[in-house]
């Protein structure tokens, strides 16, 4: 499984756009990229998933360059409630094996 690397922490202010980049240099052809959000005392919650180019939903956008060796989660106009840990995972598309390790994630702190 491709190992992912993302910043340990980020700080932002309400109303700003936040971009969290994840590196996955060894991503395989059939792998997908998935992002989860986790609040304290809760389980991770799915945010967005993509394979290539750009994916957008009501919560976030995911940008994936052509080489797919990295991806960027974009959160538009964050609020205090977006303070959480964000995990980038790579999932094997062929076998369905789920990322065995979530990694350390990125702890986002949004301030007023």
């Amino acid at each position: 499984l491709a190992k992912t690397t993302q910043p340990i922490s980020m700080d932002s202010y309400e109303g700003q756009e936040v971009n969290i980049t994840c590196s996955h240099n060894n991503i395989a052809t059939n792998d997908y990229i998935t992002w989860y959000q986790q609040f304290p005392s809760q389980g991770p919650r799915f945010i967005i998933q993509g394979y290539k180019t750009k994916v957008t939903n009501e919560v976030a956008s995911l940008f994936i360059p052509a080489d797919r060796k990295s991806s960027t989660l974009s959160l538009p106009r964050v609020s205090l409630s977006d303070t959480a840990v964000y995990y980038c995972l790579v999932t094997e598309g062929d076998t369905g094996r789920r990322a065995l390790t979530f990694g350390s994630g990125t702890r986002l702190q949004v301030q007023p």
């Binding site: 369905g96 789920r98 979530f102 990694g103």
Partner: protein, 118 residues
């Protein structure tokens, strides 16, 4: 739609005792996963059920851990006997469908069971 529920939310037991964790997946979800975060470390995969069958149990740490999913509905994870290093948060997740083309359907997690072994 009810989410993934886990019971109990907290459990404190003594070393050597037995504990059974329960997970009720979202209705209709064939895939059920167990993960755990031990001592503030990263969340790690334990095993994966497709209906009642164990698809992948490569993450199970040792034979003190036994997972079952009778009837393909709820699942239990038993730790017997519990050791201090088993303390942590145990998460259950489920996802829809089981055909290979849909393996990347999102995981829906429960809020976990916090296990403390003293």
């Amino acid at each position: 739609e009810a989410g993934v529920t886990q019971f109990p939310s907290h459990s404190v037991i003594e070393k050597g005792q037995t504990v059974t964790l329960r997970c009720d997946p979202i209705s209709g979800h064939d895939n059920l996963y167990w993960y755990r975060r031990v001592m503030g470390k990263e969340i790690k995969f334990l095993l994966h059920f497709v209906k009642e069958s164990k698809q992948d149990e490569s993450g199970m740490p040792n034979n003190r851990f036994l997972a079952e999913r009778t009837g393909g509905t709820y699942s239990t994870l038993k730790v017997q006997p519990a050791e201090l290093e088993d303390s942590g948060v145990y998460f259950c997740a489920s996802s829809q469908v089981s055909n290979p083309s849909s393996y990347n359907s999102p995981l829906h997690f429960g809020n976990g069971t916090r296990l403390t072994v003293t």
